[in-house]
Symmetry: D2
Subunit: 460 residues, 4 copies
């Protein structure tokens, strides 16, 4: 049995930590230490308690020493793996990120990746990631670093820019849902019932704006089935449930945007509709609440997120206190599988965010892109993706150059440069320049508690 040390930065997580501890418990021939680090020490301790309870569960295969650290360096010291999943700021900042732009007619469905919300969140996140990168360099330079935090691209970019030799990559499960959707298409048209691991997709793009350029089950061309599928399901189709489930659960959708994009470009958007729409002209799918409803997806409000987390905390406390029974079961997440692959126990081909080193020809070298990669013995090698159609390539490149400008602006603490990237967000396209300035000013003011350590907020 292999013993490893895994440092979990953001180990006080209410959502993903429990899922991850479950998957770790079911790992074969693996064990060691999980070093929980969080600025919310109590939250980390709760996960420690739950982790230890999981250790005692009869289904559990692997034992883990859950340790809580108050300082980052100790948590990272000698780690073999580092998982990072943090929330930069609080729901108060997120409230501004997501909802402040609504006063200007900007309806963000997610607000954490791109658009005004993505820019502001990046401003809070990058300075923290600069410190993470330096700490990893100091304490565990050979560790594999798995990033789960959004905005994904700029987090991974920060890690590589500060510590170029880092072995980091970014994991995101949005592509998985699109793969599930393709399995549904296969089932509906061919009666074949398979899981996403049983099909092959080639993906290319950037996180949350990734595209399936080829999809195959055996010799069946899954993208080739979509025309017939759209005729059969003119009202759309939700791979997770009812076609109108988005009304109560904004994380679901009818995939109508995805299909409309496929009709236009011939490639399939590989993220939830709520993500895809934020990267494009807002007058196409996000002009107003009616248009949004007509395409059968929904916005995630921060109040809903707050309520959801509150329920989650109650669930965790209930588990801790023995009021609800603790079950141990495998999730659909891949993190533990990727760790096993990096330990040399299997080869996995999956989508991942990495600096471009040839996997997306025609895109700038070093830009953070999302494509497939081969995960195996202590190695992650990207797979060359098929080319995107020119108009999609143009949209992706626009975001890459925006991101580059945004990153350099944050790195140099230059609010004017950051504003230039803000102005050129597709989601800000309907604003006059002066309106964009006013909105940016409002948003940095509303979140200044987290910005002032780094930026001269009042100077803008």
């Amino acid at each position: 049995m292999k013993k490893i040390k895994l440092a979990y930065v953001g180990g006080g997580s209410k959502e993903w930590a429990y899922v991850f501890m479950n998957d770790l418990a079911l790992a074969e021939d693996l064990g060691g230490e999980i070093a929980l680090y969080d600025i919310d020490l109590e939250a980390a301790k709760l996960n420690q308690t739950l982790g230890r309870m999981i250790n005692n569960h009869p289904e559990t295969k692997s034992q883990w020493d859950y340790e809580v650290y108050a300082d980052l360096d100790s948590a990272l010291q000698g780690a073999d793996f580092v998982a990072i999943s943090i929330l930069p700021g609080t729901f108060q900042e997120m409230e501004s990120d997501v909802h402040a732009p609504e006063a200007y007619g900007i309806y963000q469905t997610v607000g954490d990746t791109t658009g005004p919300g993505g820019v502001l969140r990046s401003m809070r996140t990058v300075p923290i990631y600069e410190e993470f990168a330096r700490a990893i360099k100091r304490n565990c330079p050979s560790a594999w670093v798995l990033n789960f935090t959004n905005p994904m691209s700029i987090c991974v970019q920060t890690l590589y820019d500060v510590f170029p030799e880092i072995k980091a990559f970014g994991c995101c499960h949005e592509v998985f849902h699109t793969q599930n959707f393709l399995c549904r298409v296969l089932f509906e048209l061919k009666g074949v019932n398979v899981t996403r691991e049983e099909i092959f997709t080639d993906v290319a793009g950037i996180n949350h704006f990734t595209w399936v350029t080829e999809a195959k089950y055996q010799d069946i061309d899954l993208l080739g089935l979509l025309k017939e599928f759209m005729e059969k399901f003119p009202e759309g189709c939700n791979e997770r449930g009812a076609v109108d489930a988005y009304r109560t659960d904004p994380f679901q959708s009818a995939n109508l945007v995805k299909l409309d994009l496929f009709r236009r470009y011939g490639v399939l958007g590989a993220a939830g509709d709520r993500h895809l729409v934020e990267f494009m002209n807002p007058n196409w799918y996000l002009k107003d609440p009616e248009m949004i409803a007509s395409f059968k997806f929904a916005r995630t409000s921060v109040s809903l997120r707050i309520a959801k987390r509150e329920r989650r905390i109650q669930n965790l406390l209930s588990l801790r206190d023995g009021k609800s029974p603790l079950e141990v079961k495998k999730s659909t997440e891949e993190a533990v599988d990727l760790i096993q692959a990096l330990l040399g126990r299997k080869k996995i081909v999956s989508n991942v965010n990495l600096p471009n080193q040839g996997q997306m020809p025609g895109f700038p070298q070093g830009a953070i892109v999302e494509t497939n990669a081969v995960f195996s013995h202590d190695s992650v090698r990207p797979v060359v993706s098929k080319p995107l159609p020119p108009l999609v390539q143009a949209m992706v490149l626009n975001h890459l150059y925006n991101l580059e400008t945004l990153y350099q602006g944050i790195k140099t603490r230059d609010l004017q440069a950051i504003f230039r990237a803000f102005l050129q967000q597709p989601l800000c396209a309907n604003l006059r320049i002066e309106e964009a300035k006013a909105l940016f000013r409002t948003m940095i003011e509303a979140t200044k508690a987290y910005l002032e350590p780094y930026f001269a907020v009042n100077s803008f």
Copy 2:
């Protein structure tokens, strides 16, 4: 004295032909045949008459045989140089190109390069240029081809796509005006009075959306003077005359857009403000007539163009009939100088539109770009331009991929593909997808007389 044959396609021109014949008359040690070809034979004959009158003028240095041809092949047969300057369609089509989009809140200032007008004009132009390219290949494959027709980029692209060995380039004087503006800046701040030939500018971009990335007079950094210049001229400055001349002559402006872009990006747009604005977010400078006026530039209406041409025709007839005296004088155009350079009489470094072969690193190979080139003995070699700032690069790339999609769509006569390029025009950014479709339908319907030979107009 060198004798050449120059075929002038569009030789019935009312504007540029007379200017060109003047410059030809003043060329040193040069002569030969000017083969005028035009679908308007009478117009070509008028120019022939004027040309012969110029031959007899005492200031004239070079004699030219002006011949009118009714068919293209004869005109091109054995030519050493070909100049192409045509109007695809009539003012009736242009009326639709420029003004139909106004019903959708799209205020085009020029309407012949990009945006909805540029797309429609391209649809009329590319099929004609396909024939030009084939005819050049048949009749004068070694000739140098100077293109003056807009939309410049797609005309040059068509020539190279149909006949890859062609020796063609596209000439545009928009950069000259920006150079004149920089001379004005130099004069205002340093008291130095020079002409544009006496400064150096590095340029990069695409036609009408070109950028000066470096400008020097001796060791004075002209871009470095702009901050002070903007402070001194907060109301703008028109290198051709009064700052509000745009009110009566829409070809002039106060350069406020150009300066605002410089403030944002640190590079200077190298075309008239009326051109630059059409390539960017319409909410920045073109949202409504008030915003346009506030930036001190104006729209060129087609009625104004018609009136202008009418006056021009009267002038030419008056010259022909001896009612007004014929003068022969050098223009500020470069065409004859470029011809002299290609004949090996001088070296010229000037801006030109050519397929990218390295002059704009980071841009697709083969895309038509505008940079400097060295013109000399039978050779045009592009000069590597300095890099554009990332956000400007993103805007230029967006147009290049749009153009690629548009060109392939026209080449394959595929209205759906053309519409995709139409939809993604920045000038169409404020439209919903259905609105864009309706506008496109209106515009192809309005200009169908010139489209139906090539496209199944009713099928869209």
Copy 3:
């Protein structure tokens, strides 16, 4: 059970066919037709007989219809897979290829890939492959084409140049031996006993001149072990047997060249020493027989090949006649596994020859390179390789530009261009220009029976 048609071009093979039929017999859930095509019809029929005998063997899992075709089109018609493994010309031509250069002090160890022998063999092969490509386009344009013929690179290049949409790739097992060698290293130094499938290697280069840039078993860096390994085995090490087995079997070696190259460049040549040496300065490892012996590898003479084949034919006839017992067993070849992967039954990451589409950044697009690729459902996607050291990159690039010149020369039947590529072969480096011409003349004369249909042999 999936039924497929596999066309086997060169199906009269004495070596590989029997191995392949064994692997096919043991394939799971697979069956269909094996269409044997060979210019030696009798040889194909012998394989048909043997194939049918294998069908009757108790260990056999899959039944195959072995059909012999006298014409290529019928064999290919409707095929799902095409395997090509031919010998261009006879042993008489090979005798000239391999041994004629010895008169000039050129000691070829293989003589079928690069060097004078490789050039001559290419001249015989490319015209045949042009016809194969056209026939595949006509008869089975969607088939997957597996090439096994040498010279590998130029065969694959011909297929893609003639039919750009072809789904072809080239398979070679040389890398496997190097992987076995690395397993041996792991065993000798760490006592861990694994097979090549259990380690990971990143490979980059061209066929027979491929390099391992990274090799890992779990988190053990296998290349990092080589320094100690070289100290422990100063006399070299043969992963297949005794260190001096090369004395009797020239296909084996002590890997001393491979290790010497690793010492110099820090990456490990991933082909047999006998292949590697032919791509480099002949004064390093091939100056004379003594130097060759001192590095413990050997030359494969054609007489030895003839004797070997004679024995092989006797073995096959003996099997056919029931004089020796027929066994059915899995080989170490991968062809059937790759077919299973392409049918969607597994994912395989293995080395393969494909046009460069990003997998080797810094190398020309479209050049045939060998790297890893992911084989899965109807898809082969190359993996981006790690960069080669500059001096190795220079050697590989030299061969790629040589190959490009050679290919264009053969394609245009231009003996002068072919000679330019011949002259610049590293193996010809010790020749004066006139000597190179004389040798080339001798070699085309000696093999003219196979060249005259395509080249004006006497004109050189």
Copy 4:
């Protein structure tokens, strides 16, 4: 009149300084200080004396203050231009560089750029240039730096690597001779008598291994004349004098190598034959003295260089002492013209060594290459060159990767890495690895006086 400060590093030069001072004396509207710096202070003072004498000559147009500095920083302080032309080491080291390899059958014709001599000279030069770059950064970061020292490529590479913002370029007149040769071709075949400034050549490659890819006079294709020229002049042609002048002056040749290469590759080597041959297979033109003589070029021995310099010193002293009359006349060098161009008085298109930024597509970014560039107001912009034939590209790339390895080796003071670059020099191609090692050891030992401050010479 413009006043400038020009720092002349190596200002004690016996050859180029006097020529340069003549050109400076004849410059229009220019004057200022020439800051002479040399480790041989007396030599600098001699040039100062001569410079002042030139000031007093009646033909002189510009007055210059010639100052001698004993330390580099003072000389550079505030300079507008820096010219660097030094001899790294003495003739004693050069004796080893050029002649030591002869014992191994390596006949170097120049021995200062590539091959064993070039490697050793680079080892002495790069550490000095590292200091130059740092001193320029300290004292005159905006100065234009003109390098004339060989090995040109690695000198320019060092300057840019140490101080990336430097405004440096490398000047070499070898291309001029080839242009003169082309003028001779034009005269011989067409009777047209022009100077090199009146033709156009496109050049591409690296210093001393540059190639003319296109040459035109008006519309006459000069490369197209070479076939006829070779027939007319089978014995070759020396643009500077008699065809066998090489017998007494090894700087001349009959251009037979250049023409042989043109016959093979279709492009014309743009350096003296004595330079070109050192970059290629030594068995083609340098196998032995007889072969060298048969191609009508010669080796420059160091004893000849010593004798030549001795005569030169006598001439200078004779001028100083008034024993021979001082004349002031314009040379054929371009340095002063380039300075005038950079001051904005003219535009010049000429060949220059610069980091690749697009001017040679398909070659590594940042590698030092030689192409045309436009020199104008405070700006040097490279011109995109036409592609080289694949086999020439391969030879040039080989040298670029060699240079990269050599430079990194010297930068990190790593003798093993340097040896790897030494071994892979084409001029070392006939050596066994052990012979190459022995020769390298001999050469570093012979020149260790200049190497020991930087390298652990005995450790190899």
